[in-house]
Symmetry: C2
């Protein structure tokens, strides 16, 4: 089970806070809370907030009716103090009272604006900054159990892609295919479908198209980009491109360049190289093929308890990869009005290279 | 299809902004964006932001690779201007450039802290307030199509409850029952499972317990509180309490008081009465039965494109109900270590009373 050592994660966060001169870190429900203390709470209007002072014991401020649920999570075995508030109390002043001398607090990046502004009102003299830089350093470097979790998620989504060619029959709509894929995502072991992109023909040219009522035709190229959440919270995300019958003229040559670009970026990725150099390794291949203008997005994003998290594999990101960093490598090309194509694998940096979590063939699959 | 008249919704928001002296409203992906322009975008690290100036034309600032997806939504037919930003641009300065003279902006309540703080840095002289008060007035008063959507969602979740008694067999775990319920929630027409609470025996005493590996036994009381999202975005939420064989001694009398409390609150609710008076109508019945201390939460919450939204049915909320307001009526009682019980229906205020969206029997169902 990933994330056993919550006490160590909290201690590391406190160390980062002290180094940055931050007095406390405030964490609402979301991936940071789950990472730090294992509590998978739903973000709602009632405030739940983990208060992590730079020194001293963290406290979970929670609505009274959530206390039993919180204590049933690893919060209970951690021995974390839980400070309940009642339906008629002001929870923001409860948070303020936990860190009375604070001059600066860091807020988790996903905290809702309504909480951010209410905390500002409750602690008017306190400077608010983002907690992302304090937490991302640990979250980026996956430990052995997290790497295992990502590999298991990759194997699960690979099983869905294995079934996709059988679903792509002319006459069916993208929506029908997408519904089947959503069922399969759950069947193979995910607890939640995060996204299902079935971009057929011209719809494939919109990288974040989802599904539509477009009817699949012979000769379509279809981009299938799918992902879900496993029971432990870790995510899958994998793209393959399919052709129904023969692809349009000229597509095959472009696809071959894409395959080379994706393979080049995977081959380049390893501890010690920068994120932007991985992006560059894919981009240079597509530029050499005269396709630079068709590759309209970054090469990848980190993945873990979120589908998109640090590190981002993008020009300008000079962060150096370290062992345990997990991210997608997903170059693509997009021709408006005609088609798109993308190949995406999740990889995890390991000594001298990467472990690849997705292992379905990367050739154009003719369905 | 609910939400046809997006132009009118935008105009009403602009009117509210002018009345409040706010120069612009900034709306990131979430229920407000879907309500205002019909665009069901996923909140992600890349900024998508609808900029609604108090006067003048709204603009959608969106990542370039999302533009086609945005235009495929009602954003396209609305004729809304879309301002794309590229992978290497700063989207926050793009937002600032759309409303160069703004002194005050309202942010949607769910906007992530990372966006809130980045906007503050990009517009340092601008006061930030919450958009909730400007949008909630319209969102609370459901139009005819929205009422129909909530009734359809209620009928769907009723079909799941109809099947629940057959799932509650001694020897099964809460988790197994919950998995079956999740499948059913999709089968009856939802596109997403929002929550599945199966609180058996002592677990029922935790109002926000989800599921566990506890094995159902004869004599258990089981609280089943479930909900999902329909294709149009509207939510269901309904609780029934079941007994496996005979309930524990003393439970039946308490349950009868609960039924009376829930019925009293539903009978009291109508346009012209306050939210807190609906809460009081349930509470006074439980207090008279000596159970006031066992009813540890508010009586209800609004529902629509979110499971929890305004109006909240809670002591202190003097908001007066109006036609079209939709909310839950869900008193309960909780005895730590033993059991809990709750009865929940969604109701919509209509002339002289309410329409009830959930219609399964409210007697204790013996499975």
């Amino acid at each position: 089970m990933p994330g056993g050592d919550h006490a160590a994660r909290l201690a590391a966060l406190q160390h980062e806070a002290r180094t940055a001169g931050i007095d406390a870190v405030l964490v609402a429900p979301g991936p940071d809370l789950r990472y730090l203390v294992g509590y998978d709470a739903v973000p709602l209007e009632r405030l739940t907030c983990l208060v992590v002072p730079a020194a001293g014991d963290p406290v979970l401020v929670a609505p009274r009716l959530e206390v039993l649920a919180a204590q049933a999570s690893p919060v209970g075995s951690l021995g974390l103090a839980v400070l309940p508030w009642g339906e008629l109390d002001d929870p923001y002043s409860v948070v303020a009272s936990v860190v009375p001398g604070a001059l600066s607090v860091a807020l988790d990046n996903h905290m809702w604006a309504e909480k951010v502004l209410a905390l500002r009102d409750a602690m008017p003299a306190v400077e608010q900054v983002l907690a992302g830089p304090l937490i991302a350093r640990q979250r980026m470097r996956k430990d052995a159990a997290e790497v295992e979790a990502l590999i298991a998620a990759g194997a699960a989504i690979d099983r869905v892609h294995e079934a996709v060619p059988g679903l792509l029959r002319p006459g069916r709509t993208e929506r029908e295919v997408g519904a089947d894929i959503a069922d399969l995502i759950i069947d193979v072991g995910h607890v939640r479908v995060d996204f299902v992109i079935v971009g057929s023909g011209p719809n494939g040219a919109s990288p974040h198209h989802e599904v539509s009522d477009r009817i699949l035709e012979r000769g379509d190229v279809v981009v299938v980009d799918i992902g879900g959440t496993m029971p432990d919270g870790y995510r899958s995300d994998c793209t393959r491109t399919y052709a129904i019958g023969e692809a349009p003229e000229g597509f095959a040559a472009r696809y071959e360049a894409l395959q080379q670009a994706q393979a080049a970026a995977v081959a380049h990725a390893r501890p010690g190289v920068t994120c932007e150099s991985v992006d560059g390794a894919a981009r240079v291949v597509l530029e050499a093929a005269g396709m630079g203008d068709l590759f309209i997005h970054r090469t990848g994003h980190g993945i873990g308890l979120e589908t998109h998290e640090e590190p981002y594999i993008v020009s300008g990101n000079t962060l150096v990869l370290e062992t345990g960093m997990a991210f997608s490598v997903e170059p693509g090309f997009y021709v408006e009005g005609s088609y798109g194509a993308r190949i995406e694998d999740i990889v995890i940096a390991t000594e001298g290279g990467v472990t690849v979590a997705n292992n379905r063939p990367r050739d154009l699959v003719v369905a």
